[in-house]
Symmetry: C2
DNA sequence: TCTTATTGCTACATTATATGTAGCTTTGCT
DNA sequence: AGCAAAGCTACATATAATGTAGCAATAAGA
């Protein structure tokens, strides 16, 4: 399955430094987007496909399996949800939302030049 | 170059929501690892290659170009460094370091079962 | 000034990942 | 039983990353 496991070699660290394992996991397409969207509410597979706009079912399924194995999401009756650890991680990512809107201004200015 | 630009379609958002553009950018191999490492000190291209252990020069170069265009890093006399915006972003990512060490415990327990 | 070394890449073949479309099961109606 | 929706899997194609080689530019030493 090739889940990046802390303590084992991962992208960025032969000794599997936890932060590098996390970056490996989150640095896969859609991983952060899925976490971000699941925070609003639990979603079914098809709902995630819609919200994520252009994700392929193959990739979505792979990502969901990885996040499940990484203890960040789980399946409930209403669909996929964040685990408490997933929720914690979301809270750490949350500030990026505000920051990204400020960061986006850089690109607006560019157009005016 | 295919940089994910806020306001234009990106992975996860046809309207280019800033957070999705940011996730697209950071969710590319090594992007967060590079930012993480550059925080310690400025690094040359070859130094980054060493620190990142298994990055290919092709990918490193591509990622550096993207991060430069995204106003997160720049070249100085001592090599590549974080811009002030890059530094801000690093500070937001920093808490992941501590959290990832706690998260890593999940995997240790697994081995014991 | 002629090596020799180092840095910052580029080229290119191979491998790994992601996409897009189709469609097969399973579950839940009615 | 028949139909619809959900949760996938299969598979062909396209895109991204790796790994190795090596070139051009700068720097320092003999």
């Amino acid at each position: 399955m090739d889940l990046p496991i802390p303590g084992q070699p991962v992208r960025g660290s032969k000794s599997g430094q936890p932060i590098m394992a996390l970056f490996d996991l989150l640095g896969r397409s859609w991983a952060m987007g899925i976490i971000w969207n699941l925070h609003q509410r639990p979603c079914t597979f098809r709902e995630l496909q819609q919200i994520c706009e252009s994700i392929s079912p193959t990739t979505l399924n792979k990502r969901l399996k990885e996040l499940k194995q990484a203890f960040l999401i789980e399946r409930s009756l209403e669909g996929y949800t964040l685990t408490s650890q997933g929720e914690e991680l979301f809270l750490l990512l949350q500030p990026l939302g505000k920051w990204s809107r400020k960061w986006a201004e850089n690109f607006k200015e560019k157009e005016d030049e």
